[in-house]
Amino acid sequence: MRDWHVHVFTSTYTADVSGVCSAMYELGGMTILHDPDGCNSTYTTHDEPRWYGSKALMFVSGLDELTAVLGDDDVLINDVCAAAEDYKPRFITLCGSSIPHIIAFDFKGVAHLIEKKTGIPVLPVPTNGLRMYTVGVGMALREWIRRFADFSLKPEPKTINLLGVTPIDFSRQELVDAMKTAFEKRGLAVNAVGAMGESFEQLQKVCRASVNVVVSSAGLLPAKFLSDKAGIPFVEGTPIGSFMTDKIAEAVLQSEKDGQNCSVFDRGKYLAKAGNDEYAGAEKTNLIIIGEEVCSLSLAGAAEKVLGKDAVIRALFPDADEGIDEEALVDYINAADAVICDPLYRNAFGRSHAKLIPLPHEGYSGRIFRDDIPVFLGDGFDIKAFIMGM
């Protein structure tokens, strides 16, 4: 395993702490980011499109050096209790950045103490600020479901949840609505969306679904938790265009029948090897897709339907810890005819003649290209026109 990755001209993906805040934004809680503040403003300026349009209780603890070194948790505990007294949130989420991680801050223990003092449920989400948003979204949703879901509910047939849904991947509510409409058109009722455009009460009924659809890798942790704890199987896939939505709908019915977890894409076929011992240079491809894992693999499946089975299509997605290996990224871009990626990747094209097909991703370029994000989900998305530029 290589333990070095050089990043010269690529950006970083949104961090796990922003993922936590994003997942919890609409559920009526108060989120505490335990951190010295400062560069966490990127959450509000780049990662959270809802920030200026609606209210949410997001706080940074303002951890300072002496408090960290002395392990003086009372500072945080007292501040959170005071804020809870003022705002009376329904629940509190406690996550942290790299400094609490390095001093082995006791998320669970402090959550116990705050809960005892305030009587408000506190969810410990031990992020470290070093991993991708998908991890933060996943951990936060899993903890929320563990604490608040009604596990006495029985699954109802042809009913699904959409897991891993936040603006970091799906930017606008319009895109989430497109997903819901596409599934409902195929006779699948959308029970709950974790967590965008969703209420606390509806998400509590998450166990009413017979199958969970993991529409981004951020949904994998809660889906695995619900699979283990409540026996609800999951299907991995993003409903990009009619073809992939059909495939997901079929897989949902199959999973409902046999209880097995599955993916609607052939991971082994589309996976671009990069940044590990197996990487030995990029292969020549007709199309390379760069972006979040489940979306990229699903888009690869959708693109194959248009380009034909002989087309060489690969998905290159970031590792939650290491990001995307830049050497492999450049190799793949140089060896591709076309690349679907966030426009911020243009820096990596150099003298490559590959065609860049822009698909902005809030988790990579933040708000820069937000207005240019197409509604790439559901039946209204014409994948052929998107790829061919028609």
Partner: protein, 276 residues
Amino acid sequence: MFRIAIYGKGGIGKSTTAAALSCAFAEKGLRVLQVGCDPKADSTLYLHGGKRIPTILETLRKKRTQAELEDLVFEGCKGIMCAESGGPIPGLGCAGRGIAAAFEALDERNAFDILKPDVVLYDVLGDVVCGGFAMPIREGYAEQVYIVTSGENMAIYAAANIAMAVANFKERGYASLGGVILNRRDVPDEREKVETLCRDIESEIVADLPRDNMIAEAEKTGQPLMEAFPDSAFAKEIRRLADYILEHAPQSSDERGILYASADMEGKRAADRCDL
């Protein structure tokens, strides 16, 4: 599953006690996991014939996320599963954070669900000096703390500090104090001094381990004392301590009954399983 942590001043005999306890539990037919939480990584030395096992942190440094559970946990004498957290290069890095990272690595690989130990022993370096060294007593890890001390003043001060930390952390849902293990150095009025400590920290002496040269003799052979001198006075007292610990597992623990059932039904089989 029942989990305990062994704390005490450096050099007081924690690893010897922990390894002997692991052997005593294994003799009862229980599946045992011993986790050394010390950069020196010598907790499980004599459960592996005097040879060191690769530490979790050095394996993570080499293999990162590709390290599998079998790269981190190794079977030793009497079928005891052993792991050593390890630590940074002496004088560099952060040992406490290292223990936390090692624990996270075991969690991420679902170690407890896969290995299914009946008893887990955390053998922790010295005092509870920072967050990392408190990891073994946090929620989800040890349920009870046992402190090893002699009658020497410095050992007693350390024991008092550890007991205070355990009491301070009680509100957070941490482990409770199980008792004090007297490991004799044969200083004057030794038992009386430790009894005074116990009164101060509202605990009791749960074992009185004799000073025994057989321990050093056993180390020369690379064997744990329980294997080399199973009939020694030290070994007998350790078996009595193992019984005490099982009997005093938290009342709320569902596993308490299972522990007894396992110990009763499979009692003698582990004695024959030593690889050495």
